[in-house]
């Protein structure tokens, strides 16, 4: 049992997430497009490649590295049977995100976030609830262009977060930020596809190793 859990941690890329995406895929899905120069957040300046006709372009090399780290992390969480919660407050992609969560067998929250969901869970749900072990933000702003409350709450409850940060977002409290576009449908579909594939891959690997260990 210990070997089951310790073995993946010895390799840097045990689940081989690098092969799921390439730079060209990211470019075709228009992940590099940011908002205008006036919307730029101060802490996103290291992730921006440049500015053309007032529109910010995100550095895709850095995005590749961050995306690989984030996908690796989610795969490890899914391998250890953790609860993953997809959060996004974009109305156009609400259905897509909920569908992705359902296909993975994980959970989603794309609706109005009630204040005490994480911090007051004893009152909201019951005393013996299990809170999510990872929260994935497919858009880290809410409908009023402010940072989503769940980022702060997850930091308070010691829950690691993975989030797609656009040029107008604050990447500070997110453990694994992924600088990238969160407004285009192609980009969102790409992210959903990537997360779905990593989670399913990690779960299959877990089932295979359990069966393998039982046979031995």
């Amino acid at each position: 049992d210990d070997k089951l859990l310790a073995e993946p941690l010895s390799h840097p890329d045990f689940f081989n997430v690098k092969e799921l995406f390439s730079l060209k895929d990211l470019f075709d899905a228009r992940v590099h497009l940011g908002h205008k120069k006036g919307c730029r957040h101060r802490f996103m300046e290291p992730y921006i490649f440049g500015c053309r006709l007032d529109q910010d372009i995100i550095d895709l090399d850095q995005t590749m590295q961050h995306l690989q780290l984030a996908l690796n992390f989610t795969a490890h969480i899914a391998y250890r049977k953790g609860i993953i919660l997809f959060v996004s407050r974009k109305r156009q992609f609400c259905h897509l995100v909920e569908g992705t969560a359902r296909d993975c067998g994980e959970y989603a929250h794309t609706r109005y976030w009630q204040g005490g969901l994480l911090t007051n869970s004893h009152v909201q749900f019951g005393s013996s609830v299990r809170l999510p072990d990872l929260i994935i933000f497919l858009s880290s702003l809410n409908n009023v262009f402010e940072p989503h409350v769940a980022i702060r709450d997850a930091a308070k409850m010691n829950i690691p977060t993975v989030g797609v940060v656009d040029t107008n977002c604050n990447p500070c409290l997110i453990t694994y930020p992924i600088p990238g576009n969160d407004d285009s449908p192609t980009a969102m579909e790409l992210y959903c596809k990537l997360f779905r594939m990593t989670i399913i891959r990690a779960k299959d690997k877990r089932r295979q190793t359990e069966v393998f260990n039982e046979l031995q």
Binding site: K81, I83, L85, H95, E98, A101, R102, G105, E106, Y107, A108, H109, R111, Q114, L117, N120, H122, V123, Q124, F125, G126, S127, S128, V129, R130, P132
Partner: protein, 350 residues
Amino acid sequence: TLKLICTTTAVQRKNVGASGPEKYTEAFIKKQIEEFNLGKRHLANMMGEDPETFTQEDIDRAIAYLFPSGLFDKQARPMMKHPTEIFPEQRKIQWGEDGRPFHFLFYTGKQSYYSLMHETYEKLLNVQKYQDQLIAQDLPPKKEKKNLAGTRWLTKIELEEMLLEKLSDDDYLRFIQLLQKLMALPCGDTEEKYIEKFSREVPVQLQKVVIEPLKYDERGVAFSTGEGTRKTARATTVVYDNGTGKITVNGVSLLSYFPVLQDREQLLFPFQFLDKVGKHDMVCTVSGGGRSAQAGAIRLASAKALRSFVTEKEVEFMRQAGLLTPDPRVKERKKPGQEGARRKFTWKKR
């Protein structure tokens, strides 16, 4: 070594906030049902009756006999009912042994409502895709407008009962708007079945009132009866056709029973309205109430009787004139601390 034997409960329990209503697991409810069935058989044996044919009424009688209680509230007395009646139908615990919740939208708080919105939106997308396919094939979209006259959407309370969850007014409105949007598109058959779950039929109000047909006398004269009330007066009338306008009240003629002009005008009103002043004979019996109340009661009774002689349109005119509505005003009770229903005692400054 000294050991603390008695500790207060305040020391044992930390400062945990109030949790919501207790939730039950399915296994707990099943156990309760088994215990209930066993207890029912034991009770039947105790009372000397057959355990196979021991109904709920027998249980109630037996419990009332064995545990007599003088408490006022029936719900406070000892009772033995099937667990489904005692434990309110609420959601049982939503997660399994490993802690993972069953529903994928559990962490939103209102899982059934949001999953309903998700499904409805999916239906909407499917319909739009189907429409696009039809347009691509250059086929005209179906325009069968479903008749919305006799249907209404579910009320908020009915929806709450269906979902077993509390909703806010905004949530309910949003759901209804989504359904209306779905209805507005040229729908396919599958979507109609889905929408039917959320619509109820409204029975047309006017159909309930049945106008009786005319009855015929031994002499061959058509007549019809009517009943009316006003305050404490009750009246029954029989209106005959081919008459001269003769009116008999309690066996006495109209002039002697109602000396006041106002009461006689009240009686005349339905006939005047239908232009049938001298054409009908009327025989009525009336009891209770005072002078005015009896007049009002006979007026209502005669209007009801006249419905059978007249077309439906004129019945509608009568209804709009207020001839067919019983007057709901009754004497208001006197309250303590006041002289009458509304009059207060004289206020004295000192």
